[in-house]
Amino acid sequence: MKRYDIAIIGTGPAGLEAALTAQARNRSLLLIGPDGLSPKISKADSIRNYLGLPDVSGPAMRAAFLEHLESAGIRITGGQVKNIYAMGDYFAVQTGGIDSMYEAETLILATGLPLSKGLPGEDRFLGRGVSYCATCDAALYRGKKTAVIGYTPKEEGEADFLSELADEVLYFPQYSGDVRTAPAVKVIREKPVEIAGEKSARILKTDGGEYETDGIFILRETIAPDKLMPGLELEGNHVKVGPRMETNIPGCFAAGDITGPPYQYIKAAGQGNVAALSAAAFLAAKQKQ
């Protein structure tokens, strides 16, 4: 398997600037995230404090960023990272089932603002009936009852996939608009409020009722950083970093909103720049050994 010099997770200003800097340093890079860029870029109304782009709209900023990437020859690998494994001398990045793995010498986390709080019971039952990845864990639920909470229409595919193995799939879309799922998937438009159980998650409580299940899949756009990468040290719900954007795991750096306030485009880009330079320095030191 090809081992990249630097894997960058996230396509907001932090990840994009890290990619541009890594490229300028002649490092092989893997940039993973939505290929339409961070929703926080396109959603902004008008931005007045980004150097070189006076009074720009979100969509115009997005177009400028995409053009910059293209001119540098940087390609985005679309998708969501489900797991990152710190293997000691390299990192493995998983985007789906067991075959969707990438490897890199260093890693830059630029996945944006971490979710402040999950559902009551979510943390307690994670790994005991609660999962963040249907394609990873579906096989455990063969012939069982499952519930899928989807925060974006992308997750409909995960529910469909699960319905091929599980006996029952209840799908709780947390967005408005049409839902297109396989006939075997039962769509319920209610808002989950709690996960309950004893040893493991057994009941999903919503604002409309209670559902018995063997497994609950919570599929959000963001996964808490320490769940994404076991062993990563947090400070509050942010990733703890030093002045070089280094985390507690050697070779892993973080940049942007994920490292804490202030939450600003230019600060995120600046930290992405520092993180990529630190990763390049880390690689150079490693190669000298």
């Binding site: 998983q94 089932g97 076991p230 062993g231």
Partner: protein
């Protein structure tokens, strides 16, 4: 070495003063990634900790007996009694310090 066992061979685990039993499966990403780490730790802790591994699809009875719902799950046994369990992938230094905690 991590010894792969079947349900029938579970007795070997109980004979160890301190044992780690890894429940895993061929289709599981974190299981695949933790395997080389366990292999390395088993060499380091040779003679002190017995390392075993079982496939949940091949040994469903054993998995049910321990109520395994997430893999990988590492069950730590002292003289055949469960002393603790660890779920999910852990980087090597963290796993080493967790297991060393059971040695003292």
């Amino acid at each position: 070495m991590v010894k792969v066992i079947s349900e029938a061979e579970y007795g070997q685990v109980q004979e160890c003063p301190l044992a780690v039993l890894d429940f895993s499966a061929t289709w599981c990403g974190p299981c695949k990634m933790i395997a080389p780490i366990l292999e390395k730790l088993s060499e380091e802790m040779k003679g002190k900790v017995g390392f075993f591994k079982t496939d949940v699809d091949a040994s469903p009875g054993l998995a049910a007996r321990f109520g395994i719902q997430n893999i990988p799950t590492l069950v730590i046994l002292k003289n055949g009694e469960e002393a603790g369990r660890e779920m999910g992938f852990k980087p090597e230094p963290l796993l080493r310090s967790i297991l060393e905690g059971y040695l003292n």
